[in-house]
Symmetry: C2
Subunit: 201 residues, 2 copies
Amino acid sequence: MQEVQTATEQPGLRERKRADTHARIHQAALALFARQGFEATTLDDIAIAAGVSRRSLFHYFGSKEDIVLSTKAGLGELIEAAVARRPADEPLLAMAEHALTDMAGDFQGPEARALARLIHDTPALKAGDHAKYEMLEHRLAAALAAQKRLPPDDLQARVVATTAIGVLRMATETWLASDDDAGPEVHGKAAFMALRAAAKA
Amino acid sequence: MQEVQTATEQPGLRERKRADTHARIHQAALALFARQGFEATTLDDIAIAAGVSRRSLFHYFGSKEDIVLSTKAGLGELIEAAVARRPADEPLLAMAEHALTDMAGDFQGPEARALARLIHDTPALKAGDHAKYEMLEHRLAAALAAQKRLPPDDLQARVVATTAIGVLRMATETWLASDDDAGPEVHGKAAFMALRAAAKA
DNA sequence: TTGCATATTTGCACGCGGTGCAGATATGTC
DNA sequence: GACATATCTGCACCGCGTGCAAATATGCAA
């Protein structure tokens, strides 16, 4: 019952096995999705491939979609951290832009594109993805307001957050459609420039 | 076999019955959703209340969510029409703003609020709603580009469309949260003003 | 009116995702 | 080794959604 221990200790067999199983399910599922598509893959397929019972899948993931979408789970914290690193006197829109471009670099690997394509091509996943973006919007709005010491529901902060996340979504889509090797942040920068130009006119 | 008839003729018994049944299902479903919630209402409940078989529901609506979400179906056309009415020399952002506020007036009644709340409070509906917003984004971007004689994938048009739809979404949310009787367009106007101010800084 | 082509409705069987429950099994601890 | 606890599993069940074929209703022409 003594829980007074540091976070750097050894995880113990239980947690290690749990992490293993989690990863095994995740990996097996993504492989199957990539090969035969999301809808065509049943939970039984995944369970068998991962070596667990179908029932156990729900002890690790809330739903079939969640197996894919949980990959992006840490994004909220990343954005908040990136905002907290910005100087407080920076204008709102620039703050949002720089926080996002800072963060974008951390979140891309060789598999990112395949994952993004899977989500983009699967309506059910796309819908869930949008829900995550909305979460991001709210967290970004709150983070921006906090960093600039504005009230938490400040209208400008919310509008800027909505706009910035919209640009992020758009840049991701453009990046996915393009076949060059440029990262999403390049497209994001261009989009922000276009937005400023449009607002000036 | 002679289909050479005007559009102002009588619909015939078949189409009339079909429209009737469609409306009856829609109405019965919304009543049940309002009373006991979306998830707690089964398709059997709706079928019985509407006096049809469960199987027939799918001849009128693609899915359970669709019964609710199809209410907003005509929005795309409304937006395109509103954009087409704007002067071609109007700046992009103003064009989007005015098109949306023009349209907003047409799309609110006493039930609009209840419907919006149902969607807002039901995760499954909210996800589907976001998908519709994305459709709107693309149609708005294309309409703006066409009206200003830009290429269909023009970056500025897309960014402005994404931003404007984001503002629309935000304004709807604010309107839903507020208890005053002001229409959504008031909140939309304020949001656009805040956006311009933020972009100027 | 009768008869025929076509559209609509219905019932049935089935697959799949998701949940509650209870027993079996594994882990951590004394 | 014994006990408390966390995890895994199988089972039964519900609800949404679909394919199919039979039954029913409508439109139309003779």
